[in-house]
Symmetry: C2
């Protein structure tokens, strides 16, 4: 069943398919020829230094029973991958246990390196390198994609990105490694066990971004356990005395600061071990969707599309901002409808007191929770569309604007009703009931919509596929062609954004009104334990394998969580101040009460900031290791300078 090598002029015999390229049906022959030639090209053009224009990879068309579909497998020789590892700045562990940027010339000093050890780079790393090389395949003197005159090119434009935006290239995705995946999924979620997730294995298979998400999810779950444990007796014995209340809230507030600070340290430990803490930031190219008039980029001096920053600002402030405000208004309008419903249910319950009517009391909250989820999802698409229309040049700037839009809306959408109940209606009973319903409903909905539903759909599809192929083989025995055809139909994992957002909102439910509903942390812990399993299932069985993405931290989410914990100080202080027990302590003067609450709040905030300042972001040994690396590179530079000066001096003295 082996096909002949197509465009290969290499001595490499053990071609290992790593990445799949799917071209649109009916793509012109000349385009395919040009594209694949560019991928395998290894000629330096006319002596001039032009290696950046060819990727030197290996390509093979996929042949199935139906003949050649427009699907190509990409691999690379071992040497090519090692050189690519140097180009992307991969950091690996040396024999002396220190982490260093890999270079081909110093390859012998790295742990587990041997010229015939093809597992020195993990499969995820190889796929990341290939993706990087493909994306850096740039036009040299083409004005357009051969065969498609409307798909314009200019020197330096990424060919793959143009192919993607003009629809000729349907998708690029890395192949699963069925064997590894089976091992991983067994140790990850295959058996019910108490213990940590195999984070290092997850990182090897899925890359650092995803492993860090699971690391955070696990850490956050562990960190919530003390809150949950303390919360249970409060709920069970209905401890509502003043001092116990204050103690619980104070503990929660300080604890939430501590866990966020400690996470930074754990994150540093993890990413140091994975090498991404030391990885140099690559120069950021324009994002695929960015368009504009051809001009000169002031930074690179290259010709590329330029889009006026003023136009973008106008789009942001005159269109996006009003739209977001409108959405916020709409969300508040829906909230008011919910309160009407709530009132109606209450009236109904009063009129005909029955089991059914008391159950009816929960219905408005449940409906509202569902509506919130739906609105969040619809808004998400609108936000993506708008942010993309704002035409940001860099992916990071696009992401920041998208995250800001989504966070503001989701925050208001989820918590506005709770704020209204707490600080306008002053109805603690309703707050507790509403909080519980919202939290639990949203958790159930999320688990269902995110993992179980796609899993079930995927499973059904797989069964249908297999039936069509008339084969009864297990997943492990599928031929390469069958595997590729199966995987190309799987959903695409769109990144950790939604997963972090879910945790962020959960953190809000737990911390904003923690002193009203101490059981929230318990539900959060329970949810997160199942979340780990369902997310793991989702990654391994539902979605295409995602490309590994190196990262050194959880980025803007750290800031988002910290902001939430500052807001929660304010809300909790007000809640405690409003409780009748505290009220009773200041029988004479409401003034004293409010002033005391304000004082306590400011003190707590001050302690928070001082704690955040005092706790170092990186553990001492990581600091030492980083300082050592910096010292070494400074020394190396100094040696170079001195050696040069030495030569110069000898020249000056002896001639």
């Amino acid at each position: 069943e082996m096909e002949s090598w197509s465009f290969l002029d290499t001595v490499e015999s053990n071609f290992r398919p790593l990445v799949v390229i799917e071209l649109a049906k009916g793509t012109k022959e000349e385009t395919i020829k040009w594209f694949t030639e560019r991928i395998v090209d290894k000629k330096a053009n006319g002596g001039e230094y032009r290696m950046i224009f060819c990727a030197q990879l290996l390509v093979k068309p996929l042949v199935t029973e139906n003949g050649v579909e427009n699907i190509y497998l990409v691999g690379a020789s071992h040497l090519r991958l090692l050189l690519g590892a140097e180009t992307v700045g991969l950091v690996k562990e040396c024999s002396d246990n220190s982490m260093r940027a890999f270079t081909y010339s110093s390859r012998k000093t790295f742990k587990h390196f041997a010229d015939d050890n093809h597992n020195f780079l993990t499969m995820a790393e190889c796929q990341y390198i290939i993706k990087h090389e493909l994306e850096n395949l740039r036009a040299k003197n083409e004005n357009m994609i051969p065969g498609y005159p409307q798909a314009k090119l200019y020197p330096g434009k990424s060919i793959v990105r143009r192919l993607l935006t003009s629809g000729i290239l349907v998708q690029i995705f890395p192949l699963h490694d069925r064997e590894e995946l089976k091992k991983l999924s067994h140790s990850w979620y295959g058996r019910v066990k108490v213990g940590y997730q195999p984070l290092d294995d997850i990182r090897c298979y899925f890359g650092e971004t995803i492993a860090l998400y699971f690391g955070f999810l696990e850490y956050f779950t562990f960190a919530l356990i003390p809150m949950a444990v303390i919360g249970i007796p409060y709920y069970m014995f209905a401890w509502e005395d003043y001092d116990k209340y204050v103690m619980f809230a104070t503990f929660n507030l300080l604890w939430s600061t501590v866990i966020l600070e400690v996470w930074k340290r754990i994150c540093a430990i993890l990413t140091y071990r994975w090498g991404t803490l030391l990885m140099k930031r690559q120069f950021e190219e324009p994002r695929p969707g960015f368009h504009g008039v051809l001009g000169i980029n002031p930074v690179t001096g290259r010709e590329e599309p330029v889009y006026s920053s003023i136009k973008r600002q106008l789009r942001i402030y005159l269109v996006s901002l009003p739209f977001v405000c409108l959405c916020l208004y709409f969300s508040l309008y829906v909230m008011m409808i919910y309160f009407d419903l709530e009132q109606w249910a209450l009236d109904y319950h009063k009129e005909n007191e029955s089991n059914f009517s008391s159950l009816m009391l929960y219905v408005p909250s449940i409906i509202y929770a569902v509506v919130i989820e739906i609105m969040n999802r619809i808004y998400r698409y609108a936000a993506e569309f708008l942010t993309s229309w704002e035409n940001h040049r860099l992916e990071s700037s696009y992401q920041n604007h998208l995250i800001l839009k989504v966070l503001v809306f989701n925050f208001l959408n989820c918590f506005a009703s709770l704020f209204y109940i707490a600080f306008v209606l002053f109805d603690m009973k309703l707050l507790r009931q509403s909080l519980a319903t919202l939290l639990i409903t949203s958790q159930i909905l999320n688990q269902f919509a995110e993992s179980l539903l796609p899993y079930w759909l995927q499973k059904r599809y797989n069964r249908k596929m297999k039936k069509r192929m008339c084969s009864k083989k297990s997943d492990m025995d599928l031929s390469l062609a069958e595997q590729v055809n199966m995987e190309k139909e799987m959903g695409t994992y769109l990144g950790t954004f939604d997963d972090y957002l879910e945790l962020f909102l959960q953190f809000g439910y737990v911390s904003l009104f923690s002193c009203v509903y101490p059981l929230a942390a318990v539900f959060a812990v329970l949810n997160n334990i199942t979340e780990i399993y369902s997310d793991a299932l989702k990654m391994c069985r539902v979605y295409k394998r995602p490309f590994a993405e190196p990262t050194a931290n959880i980025g803007v989410w750290q800031l988002a969580f910290e902001t939430m914990s500052v807001i929660s100080v304010v809300t909790n202080c007000i809640l405690i101040g409003m409780s009748p027990e505290v009220d009773a302590l200041f029988p004479d003067s409401k003034m004293d009460l409010v002033l005391t609450v304000a004082l306590v709040e400011h003190l707590l905030l001050a302690i928070k900031f001082i704690m955040a300042f005092v706790i170092p972001d990186k553990p001492r040994d990581i600091q030492t290791k980083l300082a050592k690396l910096e010292f070494e590179s400074l020394e190396a530079l100094k040696q170079q300078v001195r050696a040069f000066q030495m030569q110069l001096h000898f020249l000056l003295i002896h001639h």
Copy 2:
């Protein structure tokens, strides 16, 4: 009057003295010989690469009428200075107006560079290079300083630092350039003029740290003008309506945020022009006073003194912290005495109402202001002693601990009485009077103690010196020997710490209670205008020339000023809330008043943080220039990697 070259074996003929080394009287001959030989040494020891052990500078003893005193002049050849500029990482302007790190091999691309242009490096830069080279003169195999068996050395220890700590080396200081100084002082403070200070000239003469201080002082004065201008009518017409009050305070609070954010941008513009924004951080060596048992530094792997971090923590928490608390308590105790005095003066005034007695009302505040100044100064010495005793390894860590200690005490010492009057006594009239007296007295005291007194002392001393030398020459015609003798007796400028501290406290007086005493900004502006002149006088005439110190920003002071502006939001909101006019707006419910004030305060704080987040720290064009440099260095690295890979590939293919 020219002396013979002593240890020089160089062809360089135009020796320009740059730095003066003063050894203790009676230093042994062998020590002097060893030390000066090490300074001029240019032999690479035994083929081994050991250039770091010799400085290759030029040294000349100073001969006066009294024969050879232990004073040596240090200079360097032009080539040596250029190589040194590369070693310290100096950044200079290129012909294409971009800023780049100077390297000898690319010297032709730099603006104003010519092999015979000895002014390419400013004198301050040359002196900085020489200081760097002297401090990096390290012991190779000496176990002690020759002639002084008790002054131990170990390989790698800085010789100059050991000589300084063992008292053999009295001081090292850079020489003034009388001609340049005259030009600078004329354009700086010589004539009364409206306009900016010659910051670039100040930077050329005194270095970046001092120029940045004067830049900040000037900027801060300009920034205070709007506050002063708005404050005058408030004071004159006694506008005390609610809305005008709130407007004034709100303006002040937002303005103070804006000026601090804008300063960051101006600072980036200045330091980009001066090259320090791009200067790479050098590896930080242990500070001179640091001592410990000889051990292995985990970062450098070198043998050097090691001091247990636990011991240091114990010293900090068991000795320093209690001492600081004691001082704070003492300061509060003094404050209570002040209030007794104040009460006594009030009683006295009531008993015998006369002009004298009404004048007496101000006496306690004035005495208290003087006592505060004295306490601040005494505490400063104690803090320095304690922090030095804590035995910090790095200068930066020493500085941070010192600044923290001093700031906390000075803040409490200066503002505790005001806080007490405002929030315990609720006496707005006394607050206003006290604030005015404290502010004005401390300003007068500072100007006197810092500049005028030393200037007068210095002038008297100079006159005496000249009389003794029986010469009636002006400063310009002094011989080198006379100049050196004059300058070595001048005071040493101890850095910008005290100057920034003074501005910090002034900022506190202006912003913390701005709505009570709108005239504070006016006094601050007037003070700062004279401060510029008296500080300039101090730098040019009173003190020895300080070594230039490259810096990219005002460091921890930015944080200190920002913290102060956050605290001022809180105090101003409370003050406004307490004013009778605002009180009258909420006749029914004190609760509503307090809640409104708290809400406004939180809103203002939120706006502050959002503004700080939204305003970029660097102007767009500086950002572009920095991105361009980063892009270029990444490209250069990539080119290197690719070129290497290219070679390798050809090798693999052709052999």
